[in-house]
Amino acid sequence: MKTTKRHQRRLLLNRIFEWIFFSTIAVAILVLGALLFDIFSRGISGLDWSFITSMPSSRPAKAGIFPALLGTLWVILLTALIALPVGIGTAIYLEEYANKKSWFFKALNLNIANLAGVPAIVYGILGLTVFVQLLKIGPTILAGALTLSLLILPVIIVASIEAIRAVPNSIREGSLALGVTRWQTITGAILPMALPGILTGSILALSRAMGEAAPLIMVGAVGFVTFLPDSILDRYTVLPMLIYNWTSRPQDEFAQLAASGIIVMLIILMLTNLTAIILRNRSQQRID
């Protein structure tokens, strides 16, 4: 076949766009790479077992992250316990029960999507007013978890709604036509099919919450704690708060500690995201 001029131009254009798109991803990779290189080159030397199991200290050589690590785990577990049932429950109501033609439903849907875009600090202010002061929970783990729950609820709800909506209507009909109740249809057919999507969205939302410092500053997480939390009504700190505290100190040693802390943080985030992927793949295999 003879290649015309026009054909050659199209092939050239094709190659040019391939390069343009490759360079966009290259920019992202380079920036991320530089950031990781900087953090690892500063922080890896300070990273050892005693760094993880020690208390923070004003002497950098002895300082560790143990209370912040435990604080993060407490806060995130409690956030999951609060936000997952409420978020998934809301999604089930909106998709399976609510009258989709009512103005109430439409307004609610629009507002949930909007709430996902509200800055985290605003949730912090809300948490301070409602949980810490009005409900007198005080600057405790519970108040922090409630605030983070509010922050990630919209994301969990939207992800769950999408996942439930993706379940074909024929499955719903097939179940109901067997003389099975609506609730049994939800638990027996709809949720199992929507679960991979719900899990992925929820875990990603939780790992976002894990990295938040701003709203927790508002509700009274402290930067420097030398005791371990033993109830949800204890005061606490979390990793991002401790890292923030360290980076704001003038000594270079603390900057190194912050870098080590960030590495730990990154490892935890990677592990949770990995869990999300594994869970999703496993439940998808069950379906296929």
């Binding site: 009258n99 074909p168 024929s170 097939g174 003389g179 099975v180 109740t181 199992p192």
Partner: protein
């Protein structure tokens, strides 16, 4: 000859649109009743009224009377969950659940809670046998239903419905998504099923209706133009429009 379902002056509305107009039909027990007609004529809507599946769609309304073994089926007080147990339905496209073959068949039974656990295994086998699927799946009962072919999936959906021990089987174009061989298998199966069940089947294919049904109804624009013995309807239709349709002049 006993009447299983008696429909009298049934009207059905999607919002303001009237989809069924004054339908009267007597459905005989242990017979196959086929419903034919062009797309949008109301035949699928009609069978959806029989197990009240239309209630899933907002803004629908049915008036008139459908008597099922003497109970008024359209009555709000009639428990729709129990009704659907007694009037099962097979859909146009096979819709197995994303579960194993066993779990699919026992899906309804496990949730109704009226068959003791010790009888599940037997019920599984008899349901699959009745749907003539047993020999093809007995060695892989724990595999996903999605590993089956389309025709097998549809027979699995039939087995799943039979496991809930219905009295009436509604089938909404059950073979329209299947190839001729799978279709022939299901038609053969229907012949067996009518010994135990009353079957109402919507079909696009007039040949299918002529082959398998005892009674046949012709729908057009929401009206039941003609209803009677299949033999008579196809050999000697009373209405000109029926004749035009079955001789392929339109539709």
């Amino acid at each position: 000859m006993s009447i299983k379902v008696n429909v009298q002056n049934l009207n059905f509305y999607y919002g303001d649109f009237q989809a069924l107009k004054g339908i009267n039909m007597e459905i005989h027990e242990n017979k196959i009743t086929a419903l034919i007609g062009p797309s949008g004529c109301g035949k699928s809507t009609f069978i959806k009224t029989l197990n009240r599946m239309y209630e899933l769609i907002d803004g629908t309304k049915a008036t008139g009377s459908i008597s099922f073994d003497g109970t008024e089926l359209l009555d709000k007080a009639t428990d729709v969950v129990d009704l659907r147990k007694r009037i099962g339905m097979v859909f146009q496209k096979p819709n197995p659940f994303p579960k194993s073959i066993t779990e699919n068949v026992l899906y309804g039974v496990k949730r109704h809670g009226d068959v003791p656990k010790t009888e599940w295994k037997e019920l599984l086998e008899t349901s699959l046998r009745k749907a003539s699927l047993w020999s093809e799946v007995e060695h892989k009962l724990n595999q996903s239903a999605f590993s089956l072919s389309g025709g097998q999936q549809q027979r699995l959906c039939i087995a799943r419905t039979l496991a809930t021990k219905p009295e009436v089987l509604l089938m909404d174009e059950p073979t329209s998504a299947l190839d001729p061989i799978a279709t022939a298998k299901i038609e053969e199966l229907l012949e067996e099923l009518k010994k135990e069940y009353t079957v109402i089947i919507v079909t696009h294919s007039m040949q299918q209706a002529a082959r398998i049904s005892d009674y046949c109804g012709f729908f057009l624009s929401g009206e039941l133009i003609e209803f009677g013995l299949t033999k008579q309807l196809f050999s000697n239709p009373l209405d000109q429009r029926t004749e035009d349709y079955i001789t392929g002049r339109f539709g």
